[in-house]
Amino acid sequence: MTLQFLADGLIAGSAIALGAAGVTLTYSIMRFANFAQGEFISWGCYLTLLIAGPIGAGFASSVDAIGPLSVGWNVVLAGVLAMALTGVLAIALDAILFRPLRERGATITAVMASFGASMALRALLEVLFSSHPFYLSRELQMAIPVAPGIRVTPDQMVLVGFAAGLIACLHLLLTRTGIGRALRAVGENPALARVAGIDVGRVILLTWFLVGALACASGVMMGMVMQIRPTMGSDILLPLFAAAILGGVGSVPGALVGGLIVGLAEATTVELLGSQWRAAVAFVVLISVLLIRPTGLLGRAP
């Protein structure tokens, strides 16, 4: 046995953390469990793929790998554009589906509707791209030994740093800025937020944009280390919720901690028990948290 699974778990955990941060934002600001979160991840990844092609075709030099990485500037630029587009996709889905339900006070219906939206968005990906797998990068990379028995590729190092950086930025946005204060105020009491002069509609738009952009970043991370398929997002939906609840719903640092723990727990389970047990890990984590510490590791008591 080598310790390689720890590195693999850390990378998967970083992608889970980004998605879980979105789950935690949607829930803490709109009191809404969005089951279409996985599809934002898949769509983010496919949009990156879709945009990277034309950029590479238009600017041939952009395809050249950046330094030791396996992808060129075209993928980086495409990822940034796709983050914005996925943010817009999330806003559009809210405008068409969730907002009308929210305004009628149909919270549970909105959660059910997000299941439907999830299926529709996934089916649309299969129609557009088939279920044939795609790759953001087919380059083979030399993995660099970082510890006894652990090797990581330059891509993986950059991705983990990128995920941690994004989570740190989000945490600072929420805790240190006026925008973050407004987001937290709407999360606690939307009616009072309006009385305090906050345009709640705009805060909700911003929230969806952030959620979409984070999901896209998560999708790009997954697309860099595994096959891109229409089901990639729905496959990690349960780990996302397990991570958000484990970290404490509403806590962005909690989403990071929860994501890493779920990622490492999955990788450890696969290493020790076999890959058929992977899917059970998120369930076990989720049930354990609900039994032992329902507020999560970094969550506040309601």
Binding site: L192, R194, V195, G197
Partner: protein, 249 residues
């Protein structure tokens, strides 16, 4: 009755949560600068609904609301604040998970960047407790301190009119006296104060003028002394407070 320098003018307002079933059936009130207008009435008279509708939180069916001559009917609540109409809800009127300081900073975000610190400092002078407890989550404040924070938060934007929904609810008589003393200070600074109250005696003690609503309609209006002089009215609508205790606090 003519009101000197009417700042808030509500004209035959019809409002309610459901379009077909209004709770306020054509109420008119006027509020002048530097006066405290108290709105009284039995339970279900539509007092709270009236001021929530003015604040933009309850849909207006018909009627007009003017603030300093400008028509602000049915503007969204957050826009009302910017125009100088502040509202303090009865319950859940502070952000309990935010610190006291963040509650004030949140309200100050509506101001130009250069004014924010000065305005918060002014609130610290008016409410010294809030400065001492700046780092405490607002949920840990006592009932009276919460009410003070809610008032301070709404005053940050220097409103022309301040509306409060039962600020005395759940507070001890001594704390009610403290809160109401602050309202008198606020009145003296030129703000028009609108007070919906069940605590008739305490409210009348600081009232300039009084409106009595019954079943969503204007029933009576007058200065405090006009109403007090009519013992029959006082006994009927003011719960005997004027008869029993006079206008003193």
């Amino acid at each position: 009755m003519t009101v000197a320098a009417t700042i808030l003018d509500v004209d035959t307002l019809v409002a309610g949560y459901e379009p077909g079933a209004p709770i306020v059936h054509g109420v008119s009130i006027g509020v002048g600068r530097g006066e405290i207008v108290v709105i009284l009435g039995p339970n279900g008279a539509g007092k709270s609904t009236l001021i929530k509708a003015i604040a933009g939180l309850v849909p207006v069916v018909s009627g007009r609301i003017r603030l300093a001559g400008e028509d602000i009917t049915a503007r969204p609540a957050h826009a009302m604040v910017q125009r100088g109409l502040a509202f303090v809800p009865q319950t859940e009127n502070v952000f309990t998970t935010l610190t006291v300081r963040d509650n004030l900073k949140l309200a100050a975000q509506k101001l130009a960047a250069g004014q924010r610190g000065a305005r918060i400092a002014e609130m610290h002078v008016l409410f010294p407790d809030l400065k001492r407890q700046g780092d405490l989550p607002a949920g840990r404040l006592s009932g009276g301190q919460r009410q003070m924070l809610a008032v301070a938060r709404s005053l940050i934007v220097a409103p022309q009119v301040l509306m409060l929904d039962e600020p005395s609810a759940g507070l001890s008589p001594k704390v009610v006296a403290d809160v109401f003393r602050k309202l008198e200070e606020i009145r003296d600074s030129g703000v028009g104060v609108v007070l919906v109250e069940q605590n008739v005696r305490a409210a009348l003690a600081i009232a300039t003028r009084v409106y009595v609503l019954v079943e969503g309609r204007n029933r009576l209006e007058g200065t405090r002394d006009e109403l007090a002089s009519d013992t029959a009215i006082a006994a009927l609508y003011l719960g005997g407070a004027m008869v029993a205790g006079g206008a003193s606090r």
